[in-house]
Amino acid sequence: MRITTTRFGRIDVDGSDIITFPSGLPGLEGCREWALLADSSNDALGWLQCTTRGDVALAVVSPRRFVPDYSVRIPRSELTPLAIDDLRQAQVVVVVGRTGKKLTLNLKAPIVINLEARTGRQVVASGDLPLQFVLSSEQPPLKKSA
């Protein structure tokens, strides 16, 4: 299938690469079919591209690469629709957002993907987790030449 996107131009997506979100996503309930794309210049990042709306895409990352101790409690009722009973059967990614000039991660509502069944869902994790976890870059200190 060829889709036209605003960020990546025209791309080819195999039917078997499509991930179905039966409930869409909050705010994007109409988008049920998504393709997970790699960002060719950035291996920490992927893009979930809605296949039915070329202008809708979400940047996603693997949360533990940025928040090493990120662990979520997800109610079983949130996992059952994905036909998984254990998070280890799934890939968990979080959506990248922005506040002011800083990039943020939505740690409160991760996206859980059943890779085998190619289904996904954004779930609400229990506990007091931020919707906008601000990322900071550790810049190496500038060295002054002697």
């Binding site: 990546f8 080819d12 909050p26 705010g27 790699a38 960002d39 291996d43 990042l45 690469r65 928040v67």
Partner: protein, 94 residues
């Protein structure tokens, strides 16, 4: 809005497969039990709306906005969770 009065242990049916039961009433707090098919998400309204807003905000990001994100990773791919697999051929961001 349909307004109904219910006492403890009474229920309301929505459609033919959603049942809401008053589990407990204590002071100004009501505990509700919700029986709904698994594929229908059920959330406190303010939480759901906050997630909606955040998704809509996030859906405006473009590759140029996320360029610096690699620097913020604290782990490389070899010792963290796997990065999202490329589902199709990688694309050049515009």
């Amino acid at each position: 809005m349909l307004v109904l009065s219910r006492q403890r242990d009474e229920s309301i049916m929505i459609g033919d497969n959603i049942v809401i039961t008053i589990v407990d009433i204590r002071g100004d707090k009501v505990r509700l039990g919700i029986n709904a098919p698994a594929e229908i998400p059920v959330h406190r309204q303010e939480v759901y709306e906050a997630i909606q807003r955040e998704n809509l905000r996030a859906s405006r990001l473009a590759p140029s906005d996320t360029q610096g994100i690699g620097r913020m990773a604290t782990r490389g791919p070899s010792n963290g969770q796997p990065t999202p697999p490329p589902a199709s051929r990688g694309t050049e961001p515009r």
